[in-house]
């Protein structure tokens, strides 16, 4: 007998295991793609997944097969127009795209890379891999929104734990009344009377008639009780819960950067990558992440992203102006009671002599209390990085900030010199901070 089976509801993703094995095999390429995506995209666009391109050699499945251009090969082709037996056709010169179009494409050499897209989850997996985040943090990062259950009326389906007893019993009672289920008292009374009549020594005709009538009534009542149950599945009601997205609070992220002449394209690129990572991190935790770009020389101003990274300005360097500007923006637009404030500052460490003390005063006095987190990276020239190897020495600003870091656990600072340094910096800055919060 022929069977028709509807398989459409079967579990999907049968190939997930195979896909995972494949990804593990091309691990290094995946990693490269993720790193590239982090580097190249605009701050808010990182993390859409990204394409991985794998050179075919690393995933080839070799088998013995004949060489293509050797010996004598015979072919049958369709669609002859005017060839005759014995005709000879000149071969195209070697390297001119092969013989019949198809041959060229199949040729081992000109093969394209194997390209595929990473899903968001796979991307994050690789991205988080080295961060050594506690699982809890990973979970929060992975979920774009959290939900809380909220009562939403009643329902006829649900788990036993959610049963609404009151409503269920009320329904049962209503149904019993409506279906005229004999009550316990009525049944007891009937039984008592029947017993009484049966116990009569010499029942008269009247009593016998009554007995027969009551007996019938009793049978009917018993039958009815069986037919109409005390509690029917129909009566059961459950409390219904809806998953309501948790109203995530908003966050604002301040990007502070020194744009004086000493900050060249290299320094700005490094700074940008650092900001991207912070932004990604925040986006995971907050519904809305505002970014405020504040650049400064000896004056500070709020600008848009394009200007921030690309416009040039000349002047001295007074870091405290940026902090002052940040405070102004906070007071005007981002009251700390409504916003989670994060700040990331990038600088080459130059500062107007004596200003560093002002900075410390501003941070200690007010800003650090407002900020969830303040991250400072100092961008070094590559040759500088060679000989600065102690945290204690450094520019005036660096030394001043060290006192802030000692005081405030939510202040972090780090030196970077190469793009390669950014990743570990990010890891240290945030893995530590978040881990503490998650544990606490």
């Amino acid at each position: 007998m022929t069977n028709f089976v509807d398989r459409r509801l079967n579990p999907k993703d049968k190939n997930l295991g195979n896909r995972r094995r494949f990804l593990r095999r091309v691990r290094s390429h995946v990693k490269k793609a993720v790193d590239r995506s982090v580097r190249d995209s605009a701050i808010a666009d990182v993390e859409t997944g990204g394409e991985v391109s794998v050179p075919p050699d690393s995933i080839r499945e070799p088998t013995f097969h004949h060489a293509r251009n050797a010996g004598t090969q015979r072919h049958i082709l369709p669609g002859n127009r005017d060839y005759r037996a014995g005709d000879t056709i000149d071969k195209p010169p070697a390297g001119a795209g092969g013989g019949g179009g198809r041959e060229g494409a199949e040729d081992g050499e000109g093969e394209d890379d194997f390209v595929f897209a990473l899903s968001r989850d796979e991307f994050l997996d690789v991205f988080f891999e080295d961060l050594e985040l506690p699982d809890l943090v990973k979970r929060t990062l992975r979920n774009t929104e959290t939900t809380t259950p909220r009562r939403a009326g009643i329902s006829v389906i649900g788990s036993p734990g959610n049963m609404d007893l009151q409503r269920t019993m009320r329904n049962a009672l209503g149904r019993r009344v409506a279906m005229r289920r004999p009550s316990d008292e009525r049944l007891d009374a009937l039984r008592a009377r029947v017993f009484e009549l049966e116990a009569m020594h010499e029942p008269g005709a009247e009593a016998r008639a009554e007995l027969a009538r009551l007996q019938a009534e009793l049978d009917e009542a018993t039958r009815r009780r069986k037919a109409v149950p005390y509690l029917d599945p129909l009566d059961v009601r459950y409390k219904n819960f809806e998953q309501v997205p948790e109203p995530n609070t908003n966050a604002v992220m301040f990007c502070l950067m020194d744009v004086s002449a000493s900050m060249r394209q290299r320094e700005k690129d490094l700074a940008k990558r650092f900001f991207i990572l912070l932004h990604m991190f925040l986006q995971r935790q907050y519904d809305r992440v505002e970014i405020v770009f504040i650049r400064h020389t000896h004056r500070a101003s709020e600008v848009d992203e394009e200007t921030f990274f690309h416009a040039r300005e000349t002047g001295g360097t007074v870091v405290s102006t940026a902090l002052a500007e940040m405070r102004r923006v906070i007071t005007e637009r981002f009251p700390a009671s409504e916003w989670n404030i994060y700040a990331a500052q990038a600088s080459d460490g130059d500062n107007y002599s004596g200003d560093s003390r002002t900075c410390v005063a501003m941070l200690d006095g007010e800003l650090m209390a407002l900020c969830q987190y303040f991250a400072y990276v100092e961008i070094l020239a590559e040759e500088e990085a060679q000989f600065i190897n102690s945290d204690k020495s450094g520019t005036e600003l660096w030394r001043a900030y060290r006192s802030v870091a000692a005081e405030w656990p939510n202040f972090a600072m780090k030196r970077i010199a190469r793009p390669g340094d950014i990743y570990p910096v990010f890891r240290e800055l945030f893995a530590r901070g978040k881990a503490e919060r998650a544990d606490g």
Binding site: M1, T2, N3, F4, V5, D6, R7, R8, N10, K12, D13, K14, N15, G17, N18, R19, R20, R21, F22, L23, R24, R25, I59, E61, P62, T63, F64, H65, H66, A67, A70, G71, T72, Q73, R74, H75, I76, L77, P78, G79, N80, R81, Y83, R84, A85, G86, D87, T88, I89, D90, K91, G99, G100, G101, R102, G108, F114, V115, F116, A117
Partner: protein, 493 residues
Amino acid sequence: MAERARLLFEGPDWSFDKLRRTHDALAEIAEGELGLDIFTNQIEIISAEQMLDAYASVGMPLMYRHWSFGKHFIHHERQYRKGARGLAYEIVINSNPCISYCLEENTMALQALVMAHAAFGHNHFFKTNHLFRQWTDPDGILDYLEYARDYIAACEERHGQRAVETLLDSAHALMPSGVFRHRRPPLPSLREQTERARQRRVEAERSADYLFDTLLRRESDDETPDRARERRATMRLPEENLLYFVETYSPTLEPWQRELLQITRNIAQYFYPQKQTQVMNEGCACFVHFHCMHRLHEQGRIDDGALLEILHNHANVLTQPGFDDPRYGGLNPYALGFAMMRDIKRICTEPSAEDRAWFPDLAGCGDWRAALRQAWASYRDESFIQQYLSPRVMRELRLFACSDTAEDPHVTITGIHDEAGYREVRDTLAHSRDISISDPEILVTDVDLLGDRVLHLQHVMRDGVPLDEKAREATMAHLRSLWGYPVVLQEAR
């Protein structure tokens, strides 16, 4: 009204009711009129994603896990999402009951077409063709695959994913050389085989492995030619099935690794008949669906619209662009197979003088159904073409043969579709469909297990075509890792 009532379905939407009605109508024609012999059908409706899943696991409903399936899946998925390639309408599995997967997106007319094609055409071919009857076990295949999947999963747990993966990589590389082409060993059903294998493994674990290691290895050069010949004879050398040989004689493999090799070898062997009968199999299926659909239309059970849609799809699948067309991608086995099947029917019913000369037994015999059934049952592509490719089909497809010698600056046309060339074209086509010719023939010629244990292979060259060097080296590396000792390959002219 009566006319309408006879219709099996109307409009594009399908339902299980309509499917069953149509299936039953098709069964009347296929089994009643064409006399097809089929396994019980199991028709499963699947979604596009599930179709992609099935693609990746070589069309089987269950398969063990391996990264290469993931790679194929990703590749197909990407092609599909980009719109570069559509999905197959169906996949059919040579099992009993015969499982056909039909895509849920198909219209009802397409579902009818697909059922006729797969559930009757392919199904009949699987059940009756001699290669499938001798080499495959449709009753046991699903059980065997399930066993394979579970066994390999257990191996991954016990020996680690990496170890299993490495071994499977090597086994996959040798899969095309892991079939018996000429020899035919007694083939018990796969279920018995697994049971036996399990016992063998237990035994092997108890004895074989360390024996090889403790045996004193003889210094070379003291072996007489007689002893060498005897040794080769006991190992039944030369041996064409590399996987079988390695599985049996490798001095280094552990029992579970041998079992894994056997699994891949059995799967390769299971698919080997399909590779040898592609033209016939598709030709048979296309002929059956073409016939059934026209009969349904004649009986007034499908309407003109449905028939047109079916013909449109039929024509799409059976297009054969010319060799100089940019769409050309080789000979289309559907087109060739269908053309030949239809031609057999024509030769039986309306033969020309030419046909009488070429096919004296067949021409005008009238009973084309029996003639086709007999052809489907007793041939494979190569012999089928030798036997049945008629001059008329060669003319219709305008086939011509050419020969391409690497050293020559030009390609020579050796024959075209004319009186002088028919035989040349037919022979060349038949050869090109012969797997044992188109796949390289590699033999194990010698190994001295008590001596240096070097595995000697020989590639039997045809027409001076050597192996592709890059692929050869990569595959040899796999073979070496399986064998555990040096492997030498010789190109023999």
